[in-house]
Symmetry: C2
Subunit: 334 residues, 2 copies
């Protein structure tokens, strides 16, 4: 007697049976009762270890992740995996290089592994706005805004990157800084960087400050690239007293560059990061940052994907808010 037999006898799908038995809230009471009555009738004993149940289910959700070494994505992946585990799906994680064609790879994996749906974590959506519609399973863009894509199988869950970028720079102005520099991701590889950049621009304008090439550098989302970029930024603009880095990883690369110049963070130069990673709290000094609600993003991404997979609800684009977390890396000079 396996879960497949229960499915056959009850007339529901294996995944519905699994979720009913696992106490998933999305199964309605009538369905759950019907399934449970069959379980009782046939004395089916679901192993107390839910894993046993899942062994007869091969449905999987594919999570495609941009880059490997990302302090911010790690807990999101972990949470997504635990969520898909709970509802009886297996979770397959694929890492992508910066130069991979994400949509082509997704199509290939759809053929090979037949996932019921795909989460794109940190995709650079700009080049794929058209091709992503060709993928024939539901997709959720996680941490990337997808509202500009027309597609009936595509949702997104992200923060409002424009207003969060603005929030970071506003904070530096509010702390009394007048010469502010920005470390930005390259727009070619990161659409979210372009959005945060727009927020920076607005903040500079509102504070009557000039926003030109002398006040920003672009770099990759890595320690080493941000290290180089911070050196270049401070060389071409030695008056800068505060830096907004578009990720905590970049902020740490910049902090190390400043230490290697023999200067102090925040006494000589202040830094605000982005993401709200655990690492930022353990750095010395603690990095002030804009926290993205990682758990909420993971939770809503999986929920929205499963809703689409199960034919419930329309695709939607959810915008969440970020939160400023004060650390020790920004000096108040007013």
């Amino acid at each position: 007697m396996t879960i497949k037999d229960i499915a056959r006898l009850s007339g529901y799908g294996v995944s519905t049976v699994s979720r009913a038995l696992n106490g998933h809230p999305d199964v309605n009471e009538e369905t759950r009762e019907k399934i449970k009555s069959i379980v009782r009738q046939y004395k089916f004993v679901p192993n107390s270890n839910a894993r046993q149940l899942k062994q007869s289910i091969s449905k999987s959700i594919l999570v495609m992740v941009k880059g490997t070494f990302n302090l911010f994505f790690a807990p999101i992946i972990e949470y997504m995996q635990s969520q898909t585990d709970k509802v009886g799906y297996s979770c397959i994680v694929h890492y992508l290089n910066e130069d991979d064609d994400e949509v082509k790879l997704a199509e290939r994996f759809c053929r090979e592994q037949k996932p019921v749906g795909i989460v794109f974590l940190g995709i650079n959506i700009e080049p794929f706005k058209k091709s992503i519609r060709l993928i024939n399973v539901p997709c959720v863009l996680s941490t990337t805004y997808g509202g500009e894509i027309e597609g009936d199988k595509i949702s997104s869950v992200s923060i409002d990157d424009v207003s969060c970028g603005k929030m970071a720079v506003d904070y530096l102005f509010d702390c009394g800084h007048k010469k502010i520099g920005v470390l930005s991701g390259s727009f070619n590889i990161s659409y979210t960087s372009a959005l945060r950049f727009k927020g920076c621009q607005r903040s500079f304008e509102e504070h009557g400050a000039k926003f030109d090439e002398s006040v920003y550098e672009t770099c990759a989302f890595s320690f080493s690239s941000a290290y180089e970029a911070a050196n270049a930024l401070l060389k071409k603009n030695p008056d800068i007293t505060a830096i907004f880095a578009m990720s905590d990883t970049m902020a740490i690369g910049a902090a190390r560059a400043i230490a290697d110049m023999g200067k102090n963070v925040p006494d000589d130069i202040s830094i605000i990061g982005f993401d709200g990673t655990e690492m930022a709290q353990y750095y010395n000094p603690k990095i002030t940052t804009i926290r993205q609600p990682a758990t909420k993003i993971a939770e809503l991404s999986i929920k929205q994907l499963l809703d689409m997979v199960d034919g419930r609800g329309e695709p939607k684009h959810t915008l969440l808010t970020g939160e400023l977390i004060e650390g020790e890396s920004v000096k108040k000079i007013n």
Copy 2:
């Protein structure tokens, strides 16, 4: 005309054909020439983008990773993925929780995804010494020594954790420290911790120092757990002037705990970490550490797995050496 046709016509397997066409050094010249002659004869044009080729191959390698948030494993996974890509396999990554039964999960994935082989990255082998032999595809334990397992399909690639643990503590004694503390992983969840612990013990003995419960604390491989453990260690033994932490993540958690006590690393308390992560170099102060050769471990793990998959070579257990990397976190007091 697909790669499968070439395989059929040449009498070789699809993966051999793929590797021959991709210039993989493991294919012998005679085989390569035979395959190429068929390619020429039938005017088969392998797409210059190797990915096209791989689209007709669904063979996959499974990488099972202990935990998600591991600064040391991230580049290893990245490198393994690039290596498997090169030889035309897809690489499926699964993260495991601490309480997962790794072997049972591996068996499940074998049924569902039919990988040609499995890499266990960071497995705690102790409870699975017997059951792992039941897995019916070749396995490589990566970063974990597997020499005590009798099995004709199991290899391992790791550093010599005993001597590397000893190397770390020897260095602290050599720098003039007399009261040394240790932050160790729990033996229940980490076999490598037990090996490094043995190395610590030897170093203490050789230096005539007492190694009892007052000089070590166990914790998880996380910032927060190491933070707590460092506080406990320094509370029960306030004389400690140097700490060996069994990972860089632990070292950073301890460094933050020391900073929060109002003390300085390394002026008040020195720290040496383990792994040699990029993060250690960007921390403030730079963390002195024992570097594991991550790229070499990844490369040999995949090579050994593919050798077993292709029926070449016996299982073997490769021990590599770690290297001390001096940062700024250990004070020389002699």
